[in-house]
């Protein structure tokens, strides 16, 4: 029984090692979906994660910068949203089309808002 359990652990770790340091992104997102009050906690957690990884010169996992950007966008912080979308694009070339579109849309939305004020 113990042998089987040990073998499983070996197999599981052998087959499914984490390539990146996600620092509980999946769990944080789950909590935020389960209870919308946890969205702020997710944002804080993601911010801490990317700050720590940058400081240690480690790779920020695919999508994390953008997820953080979207959380800023949802609370109305367009500048921070754009900052993290740009970081996602620069870290992961596959995201360029989407990140450029998002940044462009935010810029044109801002222009429309400024025009409507004057």
């Amino acid at each position: 029984m113990t042998a089987i359990t040990g073998l499983t652990l070996l197999l599981l770790t052998g087959c499914a090692q984490n390539k990146y340091n996600w620092n509980g992104y999946d769990k944080g997102l789950y909590d935020a979906y389960k209870d919308p009050n946890q969205v702020v906690a997710l944002q804080i957690k993601l911010q801490e994660t990317v700050d720590a990884l940058e400081k240690e010169k480690q790779v920020v996992p695919p999508g994390l910068y953008a997820e953080l950007g979207t959380l800023y966008l949802q609370e109305g912080d367009v500048e921070k949203a754009k900052k993290y979308y740009a970081k996602e694009r620069d870290a992961w070339p596959e995201s360029k089309t989407l990140m450029d579109t998002l940044i462009k849309n935010l810029d044109s939305r801002k222009k429309v808002l400024e025009k409507s004020k004057t």
Binding site: M1, I4, T5, L7, T8, L9, L11, L12, C15, A16, Q17, N18, K19, Y20, W22, Y25, D26, K27, L29, Y30, Y33, K34, P61, P62, G63, L64, A66, E67, G69, T70, L73, Q74, E88, W92, E94, S95, K96, T97, L98, L102
Partner: protein, 208 residues
């Protein structure tokens, strides 16, 4: 927990030591670098299941070496377009969706089962998923199905001690059936271990 591990070990062994291999030529021809995981289609009565399942998909795919589009950002963007439900997104033409995100491939996941069957002593928790990956032009490049069930009673020891343990376990499961480890194992097995596992993505290819 121990029971779950033992249960999984049997499945893992089968998963890792397979013989049958499916044709991967369509996948290899498309050679995707990036995967867009769109909100999950729900065929169950649990309205929360799709978002929970969504959280379990990016990490195993990224581990396989692909760029995975941020799932919550993707969900948010589609909602801005008025697309809230997985089945609505399923009706969108693949090339349109792929172009919108600049994605090489799209992964559609359908939840077919997400339930707990209550019995007097033990509860069986079951999850089942259909997975379909398409290239940007709409060609299906990879398909899988996975069903996982967890019942503490399966591996229960005999005697009164065993019965009490099973009863406690059933009570815990009844209060809050935990589907997440099962969902995670299902993905791990189809993406990383099964006979039809995904080929390594660009970030897992050794640098020359």
């Amino acid at each position: 927990m121990k029971y779950l591990i033992v249960c999984l070990s049997a499945l893992t062994l089968i998963g890792c030591a397979n013989i049958q291999k499916k044709d991967m030529s369509a996948f290899n021809a498309a050679a995707p670098r990036s995967i867009l995981v769109v909100p999950v289609v729900n065929k169950t009565l649990d309205v929360d299941a799709p978002v929970y399942v969504l959280t379990t998909l990016p990490i195993p795919l990224a581990n396989k070496g692909y760029y995975v589009f941020p799932v919550n950002t993707t969900k948010y963007i589609l909602e801005q377009e008025g697309l809230y439900e997985g089945d609505r997104i399923l009706t969108m033409p693949v090339p349109t969706l792929a172009k919108m995100f600049g994605a090489d491939a799209i992964l559609y996941v359908t939840i077919k089962r997400w339930d707990a069957q209550y019995a007097f002593i033990a509860t069986t928790v079951t999850v089942e998923f259909d997975y379909k990956m398409v290239a940007a032009d709409g060609t299906v490049i990879w398909e899988e199905n996975k069903k996982m069930a967890y019942s503490p009673q399966n591996s229960g020891g005999g005697g009164l001690g065993g019965l009490i343990a099973a009863a406690i376990s059933a009570a815990i499961t009844r209060a809050a059936p935990n589907y997440m480890p099962l969902a995670e194992s299902a993905h791990q097995q189809v993406f990383l271990m099964g006979p039809n596992q995904l080929p390594d993505g660009p970030y897992n290819t050794p640098v020359k």
